[in-house]
């Protein structure tokens, strides 16, 4: 069922033997930094790019040999909402309907229904060039849903959106999923994967490094992360003391981080030990494991653009 999916561009191996399975009715989150290979995998799964090797089935059809059958069953909203700015929302939906072989009456009815659903009824007759980024994304989503796809691919759907538009889109994705649509979502936002996905695949350098439910992945990381800032001249002493409390974890320069064995119950011991050797603590925080910790645990790096302070502090 799962076959080693590979894609090379010349000498560059963008995707290396990726194997995964998405269940019916699931939201699968594909999390990784820029350039990890997320979009390349989506392009292969949506028939836009041929795999160099390996095999992939979407909705039961082979993406390489039954591409047309796959296209009938998928809806795709790609990273950049590629929408003709000269056309109106309505015209684009009608064009999409024709491309999918939907009759005129059905196309009109479905167009009205979807525009209402994504809150664009009032803007339907306006040219897309007058739409905001959030409106374009919503129209893109409506277009991808027009033919009632079984599987919906969303490639970084909220990149560049303000928090409110992001929330609205999340709600819509949840609603679609509740109605039975399988969703394959790529994102570089930890929160998005955490909030939406039933299962998450973490990808880095074209390889899936972790896969599971967000809860299971976090539990697997183990202990919460203790982050401490000390005076620079006491850094080495503090490092030595902390090594007795848990394994070091990746942290930004000048900060110490460890996986604190036994969690918050050892916090007082850490403070006492540091105090005994005269290390002055400038800042201390204990974060429950996040998907970023899962990523760091798997790759030794933090996710690009993600602040290490954004975890849930205890």
């Amino acid at each position: 069922m799962a076959v080693d999916l590979c894609r090379s561009f010349g000498e560059i191996r963008a995707v290396r033997e990726v194997t995964l399975s998405v269940n019916r009715g699931e939201i699968y989150g594909f999390l990784g930094p820029n350039g990890a290979g997320k979009s390349t995998i989506v392009r292969m799964l949506t028939t836009l790019l041929r795999p160099t090797s390996g095999r992939a089935l979407v909705a039961g059809f082979d993406v390489a040999t039954q591409a047309s059958e796959v296209r009938r069953r998928i809806g795709v909203a790609l990273q950049d909402a590629a929408i003709d700015p000269l056309m109106t929302g309505n015209e684009l939906l009608q064009l999409q309907a024709t491309l999918h072989g939907i009759g005129r009456a059905d196309a009109r009815r479905r167009g009205v229904e979807l525009l209402e659903r994504v809150g664009l009824s009032d803007a339907a007759h306006r040219r897309v060039q007058t739409y905001s980024g959030g409106m374009r994304r919503r129209l893109d989503l409506a277009m991808s849903l027009l033919h009632q796809p079984d599987v919906l691919f969303l490639d970084e759907p909220t990149t560049g959106l303000d928090p409110s538009s992001r929330q609205n889109l999340w709600e819509e994705v949840r609603r679609l999923n509740n109605e039975g649509t399988t969703v394959f979502l790529t994102t570089q936002y930890l929160e998005e994967a955490d909030e939406l996905a039933h299962r998450v695949g973490i990808i880095d350098g074209g390889i899936i490094v972790r896969e599971g439910t967000p809860a299971d992945l976090k539990v697997a990381v183990g202990s919460p992360t203790l982050r401490i800032d000390v005076n620079p001249n006491q850094f080495v002493s503090a490092q030595s003391i902390l090594s007795g409390f848990g394994e070091p974890r990746p942290a930004r320069q000048g900060r110490l981080a460890i996986g604190l064995d036994d969690g918050a119950s050892r916090l007082a011991d850490v403070v006492r030990s540091l105090d005994e050797v005269g290390v002055g603590v400038v800042h201390m925080q204990l974060d429950a494991p996040s998907l970023d910790d899962v990523f760091a645990d798997a790759t030794g790096r933090r996710l690009e653009g993600h602040s290490e302070d954004s975890g849930d502090s205890q």
Binding site: R24, L48, R72, M87, L99, D106, H147, V151, T182
Partner: protein, 272 residues
């Protein structure tokens, strides 16, 4: 990898065609292009103004060639008006190349490729757009040419000119698509233009073969555009004959076939 279908969980599903017919898709793509033209009419300026400019300037600069013994007409506009129409048709291919390159760059072409409709529509659609765009210079250059003094070529002559314009717009459209599919960038349009301009200039566009010399004569003689121009001009010069028509038809069909292959193989590169 398997991503499961959830079709069975849905109710009230749309009736989708088992096979998506080609014609409505091509019509929808052509309509999209016409909508774009009505909303940015300035985009038509090059294909309307350039042939008119060339027609007037060439007719002025080359007016003396009608005095060459054996020149097929004493009216310079009879020589240059059909050429300007063919030029306008050729320029329509550049417009199609521009639109396709922009769609490839901004991702709209991916949306078209994601549709289950057949791949031929993605080549025939732009081709239809090219032919329709070619009709704009035809209906503007020709009346201006008649006003300036060109003789009416008869309905047979007009039909020949319209047929050549349609073929040339198809040829230039396929050339543009082949280049743009391969390079997938608007920068490729320079190459598209060089191809179109050099093919037009290395033909009997300006002067007949009899007054050409050296390599230019050789190039114009083997250039299939020469046959197309003879076919387009015949109504304006000595009347429509089969002898002037069949070489043009063969040249047109051969160029359409070869460049069709060029566009299809280019499209396969996009699919990789």
């Amino acid at each position: 990898m398997t991503i499961a279908s959830s079709a069975s969980t849905k109710t009230g599903r749309l009736a989708l065609s088992e096979r998506i017919p080609l014609v409505p898709v091509v019509r929808a793509l052509v309509r999209r292009s016409l909508v774009a033209i009505t909303r940015t009419p300035s985009a038509l300026a090059p294909i309307l103004l350039m042939p008119i400019f060339f027609m007037i300037s060439f007719s002025g600069s080359y007016s003396a060639i009608t005095r060459i013994p054996g020149f097929p007409t004493d009216n310079i506009y009879n020589w240059f008006v059909p050429y300007a129409c063919v030029q306008g048709a050729a320029f329509s291919g550049i417009g199609v190349g521009f639109t396709t390159a922009r769609d490839l760059e901004n991702g709209f072409f991916d949306r078209l490729r994601l549709a289950p409709s057949g791949r031929p529509a993605l080549i025939i659609g732009p081709l239809g757009i090219s032919v329709i765009r070619a009709s704009f210079p035809f209906v503007t250059v020709l009346p201006i040419g008649f006003l300036l003094g060109a003789d009416f070529p008869g309905f047979g002559g007009l039909f020949m000119l319209a047929m050549v314009s349609a073929m040339v717009s198809g040829i230039s459209g396929l050339w543009a698509l082949g280049v743009v599919f391969r390079l997938q960038s608007q920068r490729s349009l320079g190459l598209v233009q060089i191809g179109i301009f050099s093919t037009l200039f290395l033909s009997i566009g300006q002067v007949p073969l009899s007054v050409m010399d050296g390599w230019l004569h050789g190039a114009a003689r083997v250039n299939p555009t020469t046959n197309l121009l003879r076919m387009a001009r015949q109504g304006f010069l000595e009347g429509v004959t089969w002898e002037m028509t069949w070489p043009g038809l063969i040249a047109g069909i051969a160029m359409l076939s070869l460049l069709g292959l060029f566009a299809i193989t280019g499209f396969r590169k996009v699919e990789k």
